[in-house]
Assembly symmetry: C2
Amino acid sequence: MLKDIKYNKDGLVPAIAQDADTGEVLMLAYMNQESLRRTLDSGEAWFYSRSRQELWHKGATSGNTITVSEVWKDCDSDTILIKGKAAGPVCHTGNPTCFFQELTKADLEG
Amino acid sequence: MLKDIKYNKDGLVPAIAQDADTGEVLMLAYMNQESLRRTLDSGEAWFYSRSRQELWHKGATSGNTITVSEVWKDCDSDTILIKGKAAGPVCHTGNPTCFFQELTKADLEG
């Protein structure tokens, strides 16, 4: 199953994090092979920071780790979905989810 | 709001589709600027097919369109989340969601 994962040319795969209880989509980040391995092994979410170019144990500095209960891959094996519980606000802005800005049809104008 | 969207070097942004009622994550695909415009304008999900390299009106051939009720962008403006209702199975495999294959710690072995 793991061998099938299709990493992009940067060796990364997008990973969606979802609240296991509420279903709220919390964030999207990227994993490399090692992040995925550590996530499955440790039960906490690990990503790969594209800006810092390093393995990223989510919450290592903020304390807002994500305890992972389920890991899924999609039909094409090029996207990961993790379900879990965050210890605090997931977003660096302090919002519980990174998706707090709504776009509407009105945004098409001007 | 739309002008802030950060498309990658291929002019694409990942877009998560979520069932507006159940919260189930259905799929991840990619949008270019025109897909996002059409999604907001039409209220149906449009993506960009990376394999076919063309605008992709989800469900145009299968009939399984996604009627979109909400469109969100994330804190970094580099991921889109759409919430909506699919007219049928979203996945090309016939599954209601593309995320039907679970990974576990056991997958780390062998």
